[in-house]
């Protein structure tokens, strides 16, 4: 008699999702970044697929400890897909190798979309609204600011993440086609455009580089503002952006450079 197919029930999927939600970046390390977090989210799946077989469970988990780096909220779609793939592996429908190659292949595109959505759009938007609500009517401080940020960000982040996990499991292989297809490139570029417009606005509001230099009694800053408002802030971003294109320039190096330059320039009276 043919063995009955194993199927993951909703309760296990939920457990796996919450494991990912809590431990996504736990044990974060230089070698595998989110590898341990992803593995932990697969523990309930392994226990459901290979009940009472510790050896097979660990075998499956070891497939997931490789280098993995993604935006965790949007990235939860991959966890859902991995769960459905592992179900296929347990039922002998697909080879275990495919799980890993798909994960590695999806990592780049989804991290790109995720960072554009969460860090490029949602965070700066909600934070800047939160900041403006924080001062209150008479500048004495208002609880609404931080509470607005907490209670808009949390439902958006958790809801999006949960929905994507379940969608990833539901669609399984067909979600790979959606994510790798030509359609998604257009969506990604469109989202990047929206994010870039917001990032541009954030730069203009929150980078402040002004010069106290006076030429013949005229303030240079007001002259510059007549030509292009906040042109020095813009040049600062472009400077950082073009330096980051060199692979040897790390964040820490660039930050130290900014530290040295701002202190020197302000002592020289340029900034």
């Amino acid at each position: 008699m043919k063995e009955q197919e194993v199927k993951i029930n909703k309760r296990v999927l939920k457990k796996s999702f919450w494991n990912w939600f809590f431990f996504q970046l736990g044990c974060m390390n230089f070698e595998t970044i989110q590898g341990p977090g992803f593995t932990q989210s697969m523990v309930p799946i392994a226990e459901a697929l290979y009940p009472n077989d510790k050896k097979k469970q660990s075998e499956m988990l070891k497939r997931h400890v490789h280098f993995y780096n993604i935006e965790p909220h949007v990235g939860s779609v991959v966890n859902g897909m991995a769960a459905s793939f592992e179900e296929g592996v347990a039922n002998g429908k697909i080879s275990p190798e495919i799980v890993r190659t798909t994960k590695v292949g999806l990592m780049g595109p989804i991290a790109g979309i995720g960072d554009a959505i969460i860090q490029g759009m949602i965070l700066p938007l909600l934070l800047s609204i939160g900041i403006s609500l924080s001062y209150g009517p008479s500048n004495t401080g208002s609880l609404i600011g931080p509470l607005f940020y907490i209670f808009t960000f949390l439902p958006v982040a958790i809801g999006l993440s949960y929905w994507l996990y379940m969608k990833g499991y539901e669609l399984g292989f067909s979600s790979v086609e959606i994510i790798m297809g030509p359609h998604i490139k257009k969506i990604t570029t469109s989202l990047n455009i929206l994010a870039l417009v917001i990032i541009g606005g954030i730069s203009a509001s929150y980078i402040s580089v002004e010069t106290p230099i006076k030429i013949g009694g005229m303030a240079l800053q007001s002259q510059l503002d007549n030509v292009f408002p906040k042109v020095l802030s813009l040049l600062t971003v472009i400077f950082c952006y073009s330096l980051l294109k060199f692979p040897k320039v790390t964040t820490l190096k660039l930050m130290s450079l900014l530290l040295v330059v701002s202190i020197t320039f302000s002592y020289l009276g340029i900034l």
Partner: protein
């Protein structure tokens, strides 16, 4: 006096605990990224929390919001963190609140904000070292955990990866924050009072430049074709020259994104559309 010292001790312990909870990778408060990196570490939220700890919620919120403007673009793209906030948030902001509550020192209302931004900018750089230390030490736990999996011990794998690694992270985060608040806050008041004007000015210049770093990292991630740079300029110009607010700007951004989605017929979509054209041509021939 005894009771005053005790309350400072408790405040220092609480700030230390929150500096740990806010670190990227600490799972206990609503997840290792969601609750820590995106919520607790943000100065806007930290202002509220530190305000409650230090005994003046509203001062905390205004100081937190001012510091948040400097770190609005604190991002972690592809593992590269532009600034590490837990120390900035739970050392810089509490000390600034305490400074503002000191009645013996006369100061203007904007001074505590300058103190907070200055301390936070310096601590955000120091925080990167703590972040890197955690990432290095966790490599040890990763390999210990892999051994547990080799021995088919999944429960022990969890303990190694997420309990032991959290204990080392706790010491990395808690100790500096606790010591800074407990021992440092008295010195800091004197230190700030005696700090040369020029150094304070140069650190506030740094505070204005620092957001550029996070933004540059985000741009590196989002600008896949050089032409997209024009959208960044558009957003910049709308705010710098036309002074529109963020919600209005996001609607303009959505419109541009919609246009691109609907009307872009070349570029990445060339293959698909040329196929469509060919189909149409075929039909015409038929």
């Amino acid at each position: 006096m005894g009771s005053v010292d005790n309350s400072l001790l408790i405040q220092a312990v609480l700030c230390g605990i929150f500096a740990y909870l806010a670190a990227q990778g600490t799972p206990w408060f609503l997840g290792a990224q969601t609750g820590s990196f995106y919520l607790l570490s943000r100065p806007l939220v930290a202002g509220l929390v530190s305000g409650i700890i230090m005994g003046d919620v509203y001062k905390g919120i205004t100081i937190g919001a001012a510091v948040q403007t400097v770190f609005l673009s604190c991002v972690a793209v592809g593992g590269a963190v532009s600034a590490d906030l837990p120390f900035a948030s739970y050392i810089g902001i509490p000390i600034a609140i305490q400074f503002s509550l000191q009645e013996s020192i006369s100061h203007t209302s904007s001074e505590p904000v300058t103190v907070a931004i200055t301390l936070a900018s310096a601590l955000a750089v120091l925080g990167l070292f703590a972040h890197n230390a955690m990432n290095s030490i966790n490599m040890l736990w990763l390999h210990r955990g892999l051994k547990d999996l080799d021995n088919n011990n999944i429960k022990k794998y969890f303990v190694t990866s997420f309990i032991f690694s959290q204990i080392t992270t706790f010491f990395i985060r808690f100790t500096p924050a606790f010591l800074a608040i407990w021992l440092g806050s008295n010195y800091v008041n004197d230190l700030i009072a005696n700090l040369p004007e020029k150094l304070l000015h140069s650190l506030s210049v740094l505070g204005g430049v620092l957001p550029a770093l996070g933004i540059a990292i985000l741009m590196q991630q989002t600008i896949k074709k050089n032409m997209l740079f024009i959208y960044f300029l558009t957003g910049f110009m709308f705010v710098s020259a036309l002074h529109i607010n963020m919600i209005s700007l996001s609607i303009i951004g959505a419109l541009l994104a919609y246009f691109h989605y609907n009307y872009d017929s070349n570029g990445e979509n060339r293959v698909a559309s040329s196929k469509n054209n060919q189909n149409q041509d075929d039909e015409e021939v038929l």
